[in-house]
């Protein structure tokens, strides 16, 4: 069995047994290539009352290589307005690129993104390109 499948099976079992942190829910994990989770930002933030969905895609090299993670943008969900998030759902986060580490998990990524959003207290009126990572995620 592929390492990625074995690892995702364990993560899934762990989520079912231990649950997910507050504000994070598993939406679907029908196979070991694509999972969906929802993220709500707790406390007083510009995202109060909103629920976002994250799409995770895993290749056979997960968790050695990072999952591809983006916000779902469709009829039901939209991307949060945030300097590190593009309106099409792309996320500029170092942990999803050069600072990915195999000790991170799906839930850990959700928690990181949740706190990335939580730290955004002021809604940017424009949607600037994240300067630190523009090279990685020009769309």
């Amino acid at each position: 069995m592929a390492v990625s499948t074995r690892r995702l099976q364990k993560e899934l079992a762990d989520i079912k047994k231990e649950g997910t942190p507050v504000g994070i829910e598993l939406l679907s994990a029908d196979d070991f290539s694509t999972w969906y989770l929802t993220v709500e930002v707790l406390g007083e933030t510009v995202y109060q009352g909103e629920k976002f969905a994250l799409k995770f895609r895993f290749d056979g090299q997960y968790p050695i290589s990072a999952p591809a993670v983006q916000f779902v943008v469709d009829g039901s969900y939209h991307a949060p307005i945030h300097p590190h998030v593009y309106s099409n759902g792309h996320i500029c986060a170092s942990i999803l690129g050069s600072e990915w580490s195999p000790v991170l998990s799906v839930v850990a990524v959700c928690v990181t993104i949740q706190s990335m959003l939580a730290s955004c207290k002021v809604c940017p009126s424009v949607h600037p390109i994240c300067p630190s990572c523009a090279c990685q995620c020009l769309v």
């Binding site: 050695i64 290589s65 990072a66 996320i91 990915w100 000790v103």
Partner: protein, 286 residues
């Protein structure tokens, strides 16, 4: 492997294009073996013949000292860990008492489990990686599918990206655990570019656990200590006009039954150094 089925995809990490080329390696990076069969040092010498004569002199010096072989690791930022892991398992395999060597290596590995857990790694996060390395060492003494480990199987395993990278990751986690456990490393945790002092957590997150990040002195020392293996690194850096090569020893395992691992350093890269110039031929069928 590359999941880039449209321009909208985010690139998965671990696919690095900042890789260094070495004179004469010839093949583009992804086509080079993760760990190559043993080759004569003369092959490396030929690659430098039209380049720096200081390197050529140093290679001659090494050959005169009996270091006539080199086993190349792919230059992907994981080469130190991969080269060390391969040479470590191979030395156990070639040990005169491989039963003793393998058993003692396995007991060292078992003892790292609580150390990994103590620094906060979930078992879920490391056990598959652990199993890859422990499984290979175990196969030296216990047949898997009726086969004991051979050099051919070892090369095959290390060139299977899944197995090979899992072992690299395990060694990275082990290195990280050692650095976080032992306060003696704290003074040496410097940012490789800025030289700023870093805390163990930040240093390990960025420069130890992350795949593709090259190892420096601290990581090498920590890993040699955690694995209880002695390591000698020959620095082929073109610095000595008379061609002498300095060997830096990482001797933290006075009682080990496993032969030291010998690595060859060229700026930014590690390979395995050997006193043989080719892998042994498989035994004739009985």
């Amino acid at each position: 492997m590359l999941m880039k089925d449209s321009v909208e995809e985010l690139p998965p990490a671990g696919l690095f294009d900042h890789l260094q080329a070495f004179p004469g390696d010839g093949l583009p990076m992804p086509d080079r073996p993760l760990i190559a069969p043993l080759a004569p040092m003369l092959v490396l010498r030929e690659e430098y013949e039209n380049g720096s004569q200081f390197f050529v002199k140093q290679i001659d010096w090494l050959m005169n000292q009996g270091w006539i072989g080199v086993r190349r690791a792919r230059g992907d930022g994981d080469c130190f860990y991969r080269a060390l892991a391969f040479a470590y398992v191979e030395n156990i395999l070639n040990s005169s008492d491989s039963l003793l060597a393998a058993s003692s290596a396995l007991s060292v590995l078992e003892a790292t489990v609580p150390q990994l857990e103590n620094v906060g790694f979930q078992r879920l996060v490391f056990e598959d990686f652990y199993d890859c390395l422990a499984g290979l060492i175990n196969q030296i003494i216990n047949p898997v599918n009726n086969r004991l480990l051979t050099i051919d199987l070892l090369l095959e395993a290390f060139n299977n990206p899944e197995v090979s990278n899992s072992i690299v990751v395990f060694l990275r986690l082990l290195t990280s655990a050692e650095i976080k456990t032992n306060p003696d490393y704290a003074a040496f945790l410097l940012h490789p570019e800025t030289g700023e002092q870093m805390d163990p957590e930040g240093f390990c997150n960025n420069f130890v656990e992350a795949v593709g990040k090259e190892a420096d002195h601290v990581q090498m020392n920590a890993l040699a200590t955690a694995l209880k293996v002695n390591v000698n690194v020959a620095y082929l850096d073109g610095h000595d006009q008379h061609g002498q090569v300095s060997f830096v020893p990482f001797q933290n395992a006075p009682f080990t039954v496993i032969e030291p691992v010998n690595l060859l350093y060229r700026p930014g890269h590690y390979d395995v150094l050997d006193r043989r110039d080719a892998d042994p031929l498989p035994p004739l069928l009985v």
